[in-house]
């Protein structure tokens, strides 16, 4: 019966196709050719529209905006694929012994997209603006420690800090824009691509900048096409409407045969973040019990089809020296121990631990993780309930309002610094949404920032990570796998240890 219905359905659909298909074949041919005709044009699918402001100094909440702007703007320094900071608009820099004075020498012949050459005036203006030296309100929180920015001659800029910060150089990726300009009036940077246009919910177009100081972009033009729906993204890749898409998950990749699939990592810390400030997770025993009960590898296998890197603290492997792999298995999966700890905390079969896990419904990997965790916790008699939320509601209630028991999300780093990941757990940080309070942590973190000795700094940051793990601040899960899929003829994409999408190396082969 079902088969008959199916056959009928198909027959009707086919007839309908004839009905309206008349003029369509010509159209298909026409659209199919637009991609090739432009030669070096690459169309990239992105999952959300950019922020209202493309101002590089306004700290954006959307990683999706940052990853696109990475192609347009550059700072004195920029990150490379290995996680090193390399000079960009600056040619070189020196730091004094107390790590509170950074001296930059400008690179010769760096031009803005409007054709003018970058001068010390532009650099001073950009950094003064980003650090809010004139308004008293820093646009970029990372630059809050800047005391002054001065040009000592026409090639040298000195940045003085109010307190030593050995990590400061990583913040010098802050974009350099022309003196006196406001990105609201026009987007002008020094990157390998220049901004062309944006169309609400349709696309953002950038073009190769011919006078770029460094390795020129390979593609002539890149179109970022906004496709919110995950299934539509897959269809668009299969149909060839887009050349490339990043941040796909394993289930989407499974539908895409015949295309290039690159596997990297998302560079974020996915965890079940626990509200340390209130019951039941103000009790470290309960937090530790959950750590013992949740088998990370099981989560990765079931929710991510085996792709993902297990983590044990708020640090991911791409950070190299700061990453401490010994913390990954600090809590060896042990259900008996979990039950014992729960009993010690006063929970048992008669009075089970109950809590809700808030998760943004649009983020499938986090929702899947939540579902596996609920099942794993059931084994030790914990009754967790998933609360799926819309993005804005999650931000407002859970993140900003700090009204949640537990939430599954991913925390990424906007700069190549350990602080980007660890700073939020300092007791009085406005970003400390889990309400973690630990005097040892605060001391270790402050010590790490104050020292200029690299080895000591690394040791202090590792100490921070260890404190987070030992106190079971959160149930750390993994760094999610990140799949980039391209058409077979599109090559050259490289992953960064940051959430960026560098299109300058991407090209169409042949």
């Amino acid at each position: 019966m079902t088969k008959r219905i199916l056959t009928l359905a198909l027959a009707v659909i086919m007839t309908a196709a004839l009905f309206i298909g008349g003029g369509q074949s010509a159209l298909a041919a026409e659209t199919g050719s637009t991609g090739d005709a432009a030669g070096g044009e690459i169309t990239v699918g992105i999952a959300s529209d950019l922020d209202s402001s493309l101002d590089p100094h306004v700290s954006s909440s959307l990683a999706g905006t940052r990853e696109v702007l990475f192609n347009i703007y550059e700072g004195l320094m920029k990150p490379d694929t290995q996680g090193n900071l390399i000079p960009a608009v600056a040619e070189d820099y020196t730091v004094n012994d107390t790590a509170d004075e950074y001296t930059f020498t400008l690179r010769e012949g760096v031009r803005f997209h409007d054709g003018s050459e970058v001068t010390v005036g532009d650099v001073v203006y950009s950094l003064t603006r980003a650090a809010g030296l004139e308004t008293g309100e820093p646009l970029m929180a990372t630059l809050a420690g800047v005391a002054s920015v001065e040009a000592t001659d026409d090639k040298t800029v000195v940045v003085t800090l109010s307190a030593p910060d050995a990590e400061f150089i990583a913040y010098m990726t802050a974009a350099i824009i022309p003196d006196g300009s406001d990105p609201a009036d026009g987007i002008v940077g020094t990157g390998p691509f220049k901004y062309v246009s944006r169309s609400v919910q349709e696309n953002i177009v950038i073009e190769k900048f011919d006078e770029y100081w460094g390795e020129p972009a390979k593609a002539d033009r890149v179109v970022f096409k906004i496709i919110e729906d995950g299934q539509t993204m897959v269809m668009s890749l299969r149909s060839g409407a887009i050349d490339m898409a990043a941040h796909l998950d394993a289930s989407q990749v499974a539908e895409l045969s015949g295309l290039n699939v690159l596997e990297g990592s998302m560079n974020l810390v996915q965890a079940m973040y626990l509200n340390n400030a209130r019951s039941p997770f103000d009790d470290p025993l309960v937090r530790q019990a959950l750590c013992y009960a949740i088998d990370k590898q099981m989560v990765i296998d079931l929710a991510g089809e085996g792709h993902g890197t297990p983590l044990g603290s708020s640090m991911y492997p791409a950070f190299g020296k700061y990453f401490d792999d010994s913390l990954t298995d600090y809590y060896e999966n042990d259900l008996d121990k979990a039950r014992d700890l729960l009993a010690e905390a006063g929970y048992g079969p008669d009075d089970p631990l109950k809590f809700t896990i808030a998760v943004v419904s649009a983020y499938t990997p986090h929702v899947n993780t939540a579902q596996v965790i609920v099942e794993l916790l059931r084994q030790v008699g914990v009754e967790a309930e998933i609360k799926q939320m819309e993005n804005a509601a999650w931000y407002s209630e859970a993140y900003q309002g700090r009204d949640f028991d537990a939430t599954i999300t991913g925390m990424d780093a906007s700069t190549l610094t350990a602080s980007a990941l660890l700073g939020r757990f300092v007791s009085d940080s406005p970003k400390n949404f889990i309400g973690f309070e630990n005097a040892d942590y605060d001391a270790a973190y402050a010590a790490a920032l104050a020292t200029t000795d690299e080895a000591e700094q690394t040791a202090k940051f590792k100490e921070c990570e260890t404190i987070l793990t030992e106190n079971a601040a959160n149930v750390y899960i993994q760094d999610l796998a990140d799949f980039v899929v391209t058409q077979p003829d599109v090559e050259g994409y490289a992953f960064y240890p940051l959430y960026v999408m560098d299109m300058s190396t991407v090209y169409r082969a042949g």
């Binding site: 159209l27 199919g32 539509t232």
Partner: protein, 313 residues
């Protein structure tokens, strides 16, 4: 004349109420425009400063009246999430949704009216039995699923169009219509199934009336009876329904626009709700509400035109 005035008054009051409800709804849901703008950079101080700057800490009714005055005088406000005028943001989006909805609606009429009549004419025949069975299936398929099915069959297997490769009306008008044909069909099929069913049963119901027996006795064939006598009566409930379908289609295009990556009002509405971008949401809600109320009104007028019995003095 009085009738039209009264209807227009009802229309305006309805729109006013809907816009007010939409405005108030945002007071209940968690989060406001600052939520998305600040995101993880949130701090209570920054949020408070931004709210002050955006005028969000004023009384909700004051803000509503503010918005309404602007709207009535043609100032649609500035979108929070795009930083440009609402009119500018919506530019071009309305055309996509209007073209899609109209095309879907015409498809509904083009499929269901002839089909409904044909089925009723040969009631109980092979085609009728097959279609009645199929009807249930098609009525039950949600448009977004048909959309996914269509992108697969027509796009990936038959290569009739490039899924995700939307063509703007500026670059090629026929290409634009061609691309829209598929989402339009996905929206139209379930509705067409409903209208067909309604028309068929409406005709069959009428066939049992006394005047039909009289018409037969005058020597009419079944087709003659349907064409000359029954159709006029049977079509009445269908007209109202078809008119209301357009309203449904406009509202239903929201999901289908996602599936086909169409830059229409529906997708904009969805994103704007997520961004808590009130000015944009308000504007789209009023447009959709207008279409719904207006089509209802139109259905009344057309019904009167066809059937003098309901014509009011």
């Amino acid at each position: 004349m009085r009738y039209i005035l009264k209807k227009t008054g009802v229309l305006l009051i309805t729109l006013l109420l809907i816009s007010l409800l939409a405005f108030l709804a945002f007071q209940i849901v968690p989060g406001d425009p600052t939520t998305k703008l600040l995101g993880s950079e949130y701090s209570p101080e920054r949020a408070a400063a931004l709210r002050e700057e955006m005028g969000l800490n004023r009384n909700v009714l004051v803000r509503y009246v503010d918005w309404l005055t602007g709207f009535v005088t043609g100032d649609l406000g500035v979108s929070y999430s795009y930083g440009m005028g609402v009119r500018q943001v919506m530019e071009g989006k309305g055309v996509v949704t209007a073209a899609l909805s109209l095309m879907a609606w015409l498809l509904v009429i083009a499929i269901s009216i002839p089909l409904g009549i044909t089925l009723a004419r040969w009631q109980g025949g092979r085609l009728d039995r097959a279609c009645v069975a199929m009807n249930q299936v098609f009525m039950a398929i949600p448009p977004f699923f048909l959309g996914i099915l269509f992108t697969y069959i027509f796009g990936l297997v038959l290569h009739l169009f490039v899924p995700g490769g939307f063509i703007s009306p500026q670059s090629s008008f026929w290409g634009f219509l061609g691309y829209l044909a598929f989402p339009a069909l996905a929206i139209a099929i379930p509705k067409a199934a409903m209208v067909t069913k309604l028309l068929r049963s409406s005709i069959i119901n009428q066939m049992g009336e006394n005047y039909v027996r009289t018409a037969y006795s005058r020597g009419n064939s079944r087709w003659g009876v349907i064409r000359g006598h029954v159709l006029r009566n049977a079509i009445l409930p269908v007209v109202t329904f078809v008119a209301m379908t357009l309203a449904d289609i406009v509202a239903g295009s929201i999901i289908v626009e996602q599936v086909f990556a169409l830059p229409g009002l529906g997708r904009l509405l969805l994103a704007s709700i997520g961004n808590r971008d009130y000015p944009v949401v308000q504007c789209i809600v009023v447009i959709i509400a207008f279409v719904v109320v207006f089509m209802n009104y139109l259905a009344d007028v057309v019904t009167q035109y066809i059937d003098p019995r309901v014509r009011l003095a």
